[in-house]
């Protein structure tokens, strides 16, 4: 049964965190068992219950691959300028401020486009949402080949950055195809592999540039031609999504239209509970300093290696690529560590996990800024990338528990916080000529460590915080129930939250849960009621 109607606030972020039941689009199972025709085991909604990574079978795995590769492509085009900046800055006569501002612009656009993307997916479905964005962004990528001054450079990078909203369509699409039990893993993989595009582009673009140069083009023409590669990828993926993709496991787009726009929950209420929960804001800040610094580093690291160590453009690109490519394992690993820790010590382990990973990332960033020899610098960079990306995964292991009613909006805000952090750190540390990029990295490392401290203040009454145990007598039901007014509770609107509360008892950790079970096995003394 559909839990959240189409158009309900936050419904577009279905499946982002993988804890909520993802019922965005559902169909009635057609008469006769057609589950047999699917390659993977499916549930009653024909969503896959398992994932087989190397399969391209229709519809589930094909969707998975189309979806994450589209997201990957948008990352490639958004950060395609970064490894070529040493050439572009001479062609367009850029100053450090121009380069920094363009970096800020490239990550700011998606703050807004991600919010709009939710509505687009609700209206048109994730397949068209993805295709629209990726194919309408293709002209902006081609525009990059035509610009000849700093203003044009900043404007085009801003416009290309809008395409990062494919994150939303990717997660949304996965949630229509995969069961809620595995949606967390699926979305973590898709997000991590998509983010990898920021690393892959540092390999691809210098390579393409080199090949074009060898064919005889001057440097200033070669980089412009190189931009045709990400642009063509956009068109290719858009066409593939439209021809091979489908919105739902049964391919039935009509049901999507028939459901209508019944808002089950009031947007203002959902927004209110998201905004007034202090934990939301702490995670917005934290995500800004793991995902945000990852995006910033994607933008500055290739130029840093080119200038500071006098490396060839291609070698600088290869090293820079290692930063983004670590996403292939690092982000899912963060989520896994979070889950493993929670199995024994509950939510407190998840919070400690975040703090340890992100603070370590900050320390390695500080080392990276200071390193004066190449091997030390590369080692610091790799360790920094692992810790920062694992922290991203770890944070999305906790956000599902912050609120049940406002989960969609909180996930969206956290994601936006990442982009905001990216813009802010680039503006503060990599735009002014007052200090070098290396010094900027040092300061960024210090700021990461400082801005991770607020996680100690995240306290769940029923589970505790990093330093404090749970408040006595607090229960999950009370925490999640407090998001509903008495009137709403009397109407039974909070039933889904109660169900979630019961399932979330696992966050107490093994030790506490074992103690509770031990008590429960001794039968209570009851006097039978009888007259």
């Amino acid at each position: 049964m559909a839990d959240m109607e189409l158009g309900a606030p936050g419904s577009s972020l279905h499946g982002v965190t993988g804890r909520e039941p993802a019922f965005a689009l559902s169909t009635e199972a057609p008469a006769g068992d057609s589950a047999a025709k699917f390659d993977l085991p499916v549930d009653s909604e024909h969503k896959a219950k398992s994932i087989r990574l190397f399969s391209f079978a229709n519809p589930h795995m094909r969707t998975f691959h189309l979806s994450w590769i589209s997201f990957f492509t948008c990352f490639v085009s958004t950060f395609a300028a970064a490894p070529l900046v040493p050439i572009i800055r001479d062609n367009l006569n850029l100053t450090k401020a121009d380069i920094g501002n363009a970096g800020v612009a490239s990550v700011s656009g998606s703050i807004f486009s991600r919010l709009a993307m939710g509505a687009v997916c609700d209206l048109l479905g994730p397949r068209y949402g993805c295709a629209f964005l990726i194919m309408l962004a293709a002209p902006t990528v081609f525009c990059m080949s035509l610009i000849d001054n700093a203003a044009g450079y900043i404007a085009v990078r801003f416009l290309i950055g809008f395409s990062l909203a494919t994150f939303v369509s990717c997660q949304y699409w996965m949630s229509t195809m995969f069961n809620s039990k595995i949606i967390g893993t699926v979305n973590g993989l898709a997000a991590g592999w998509g983010n990898m595009g920021g690393g892959a582009t540092q390999l691809i673009m210098p390579l393409v540039y080199d090949v074009i140069r060898k064919c005889g083009a001057t440097p200033f023409t070669a980089w412009r031609l190189a931009y045709f590669v990400p642009g063509s990828l956009h068109i290719l993926m858009g066409v593939l999504v439209l021809t091979l993709g489908q919105d739902l496991p049964d391919g039935n787009l009509r049901t999507l239209q028939k459901k209508g726009d019944a808002n089950k929950d009031k947007f203002s209420k959902v927004m209110w509970y998201a905004v007034t929960n202090y934990r939301t804001w702490i995670f917005v800040l934290l995500y800004g300093y793991c995902m945000g610094v990852e995006l910033t580093t994607d933008n500055v690291i290739a130029e840093y290696y080119y200038d500071h160590f006098d490396l060839d453009l291609r070698v600088a690109g290869i090293i820079a690529a290692c930063f983004g490519m670590a996403n292939i394992v690092a982000r899912p690993l963060g989520g896994i560590l979070s889950d493993v820790g929670a199995r024994y010590w509950g939510m407190r382990a998840r919070l400690w996990n975040i703090w340890i990973l992100q603070t370590a990332g900050g320390a390695f960033c500080l080392w990276l800024g200071r390193a004066s020899t190449l091997p030390a610098s590369i080692t610091a960079m790799v360790l920094f990338s692992f810790c920062a990306q694992a922290a991203c995964g770890a944070i999305f292991g906790v956000t599902p528990f912050v609120s049940r009613r406002s989960l969609g909006i909180i996930s969206g805000m956290t994601g936006a916080g990442g982009n905001f952090g990216a813009g802010l750190t680039q503006l503060l540390f990599f735009t002014s000529s007052k200090y070098s990029t290396g010094t900027g990295l040092e300061y960024m490392g210090i700021m990461i460590m400082a801005c991770t401290l607020p996680v100690v203040f995240v306290h769940f009454p029923q589970w505790g915080s990093m330093f404090f145990p749970p408040s006595s007598g607090a229960a999950e039901e009370h925490y999640y129930g407090s998001e509903w007014s008495e009137e709403e509770k009397s109407k039974g609107l909070h039933s889904a939250s109660l169900k979630f509360a019961e399932n979330s008892r696992s966050e107490r950790g093994k030790l506490r849960n074992n103690a509770v079970e031990a008590k429960a096995t001794t039968p209570p003394n009851t006097t039978p009621e009888h007259v």
Partner: protein, 205 residues
């Protein structure tokens, strides 16, 4: 199972990186300091201060000879001359990647080679240079280094940052790029519209 696989991939990646990093060249020793070199060459360049040269099209003539203030015979050690195009301070502002450095190995202001040729003692050398197509738009002056037999700089001369001239670099945009970008973009939008219209029609039937 997945975790073991990921852990293995992680350690492989780190190992590869460290191996690669160790095989990279060690940083070189410090080079000659500009402040220790005598300004023994008199260098002139044909462009007037503020004149704009177009890369790929315009030419400049650079000449060098022993400075009149130097004693005759001081240039006995000079075997060859390299002439470079250096960024003027106005083009170095806010651009840390073009910064001058006294250590000539670390100096980034003089990135473009005009010519390198043998030095004729007592004579005036000159060279006519067509501004290369990869010279970016900026202000420049000309500097010449006198090298000894081992290739180390032993003297220099320059036209000076005060008399810098401008170069207007190529944009790199050809008409063919404009056309291609237009065609690809139009195709993208058209393909999207095509699919959307076709599918809507199919749905409404």
């Amino acid at each position: 199972m997945a975790m073991a696989r990921q852990g293995g991939a992680v350690s492989m990646l780190v190992l590869l990186l460290l191996l690669g990093a160790c095989s990279l060249p060690a940083p070189a020793a410090a080079g000659v300091l500009l402040s220790t070199l005598p300004k023994a060459l008199a260098v002139t360049a044909s462009p007037k201060p503020g004149q704009v040269l177009h890369s790929g099209v315009d030419k400049l003539t650079v000449t060098w000879s022993l400075n009149a203030t130097e004693p005759a015979g001081a240039d006995a050690a000079y075997k060859s001359v390299t002439v470079k195009l250096c960024y003027a301070p106005v083009s170095q502002k806010d651009r840390g990647w073009r910064k001058s450095n006294d250590d000539l190995k670390k100096d980034k202001a003089c990135q473009f080679m005009v010519t390198e040729q043998a030095y004729a003692a007592g004579a005036r050398g000159s060279f006519e240079y067509t501004v290369a197509r990869d010279i970016p738009t900026a202000s420049y002056y000309v500097r010449a280094y006198a090298l000894d037999a081992s290739g180390t700089q032993v003297a220099y001369g320059q036209t000076g940052p005060a008399t810098a001239f401008d170069v207007a670099g190529i944009t790199g945009i050809h008409a063919s790029i404009k056309v291609a970008a237009g065609v690809f973009s139009a195709f993208s939008v058209a393909a999207l519209a095509f699919f959307f219209v076709i599918e809507n029609r199919k749905k409404n039937k």
